[in-house]
Symmetry: C2
Subunit: 215 residues, 2 copies
């Protein structure tokens, strides 16, 4: 989906695979079609449906021999059940991996940052609330800062993105924050000043799940 | 070929594409099969032939709609003429792009670092010598340091790789050095101490050529 987030996910998958030489790594095929219509607009107001383009990608990956699929895009997880059903492929569910990790840990509350679509769809909150886990989401002015952080990463300006992200993380005042948009972790290294908050990166959990499932 | 080099090349391609949003980026399909047999051994002593696996990758990319192919691996360029002929696909030639850039510049000499196979095959030297451009290559003890630098990047230890690379670059005593193995640029940011040498990264030229050809 987001090209920079896809490249970063692939780099994480490689970095987290125990390997001494090329041949120890997983065979990977990537379908990165940035022409897929905006997932956020589609979830929020039913604009141009991205699903046919997403399914096309899944089917092409199936055709060239993929046996497990990871989608490093949270908003796209809204469409995951249909993708699984229509492609017949197994997918690793990044939201389920992250919810599982949160519920196994010592916390019972966290902040959640993502696109408006991820937040509004309740993708994370529904599963966490069921387990009595509290979730703090940004109010409208803070969501605008999250939107800007995501937009700036997509434009290649991670420094500007980090300014917006740092502001939101501090304002949210939770001890941990889930970065539930795959663009956000790219800005983390550039957040100005000290940041005491535990920033949880679901793409790391997705990478580990892929490695676990393939071994 | 090398997974980390492939991820880094994809990140460079994205970073160097002028874009304001996802939809401005190039559609990319990546076939990253690390089970391709060792290209270096094959070129040097005719060990297990990697060509069938490489051709298989090219054909799969063709099947899912690729119209232009880039191979971010110098040693693999030894096989490029056969790949172009057997797949019928256009490939961007990273060696040609780099040689062209060198010959357009003000220099008439440079150092060359790569795998033993890239050096021994004369992939770069033949084209550069034809244009009276001098090429300095490592002697055997220095080549062993280059081999170690490449191996350490493949093991994910870019810090150790940078120690070996820094040593070679200083010993070679040329004002510019072509990093003609796609693993080497990953170690550059970690070279200890000051490094006055102009380090030329052919993967950047490959990324720019892909963007140019696709626009």
């Amino acid at each position: 989906m987001g090209p920079a987030a896809t490249a970063e996910f692939y780099a994480k998958l490689i970095a987290r695979t125990p390997a001494e030489r090329d041949q120890d790594h997983l065979p990977v095929a990537i379908w990165a079609d940035p022409r897929v219509p905006d997932r956020v607009a589609a979830v929020i107001d039913g604009s141009t449906d991205p699903y046919p383009a997403m399914l096309n990608g899944a089917l092409r990956l199936r055709d060239i021999g993929a046996t497990l699929v990871a989608v490093p895009c949270h908003t796209a997880h809204f469409f995951l059940p249909r993708l699984i059903e229509d492609s017949g492929l197994p997918f690793v569910d990044m939201v389920a991996e992250t919810v599982g990790e949160l519920l196994r840990g010592p916390m019972n509350a966290a902040g959640l940052l993502g696109t408006r679509a991820t937040i509004q769809s309740g993708l994370y909150q529904n599963r966490l609330h069921e387990a009595d886990f509290d979730v703090a989401v940004p109010d409208e002015p803070l969501q605008q800062q999250v939107d800007l952080a995501i937009k700036k990463v997509k434009q290649g300006d991670t420094m500007a993105a980090a300014e917006h992200l740092g502001l939101v993380v501090r304002e949210l005042s939770t001890s941990a924050v889930v970065l539930a948009c795959t663009e956000l972790p790219l800005a983390v290294p550039f957040i100005p000043g000290p940041c005491e908050v535990d920033l949880i990166d679901p793409t790391v959990l997705l990478a580990d799940a892929v490695i676990r499932e393939c071994r």
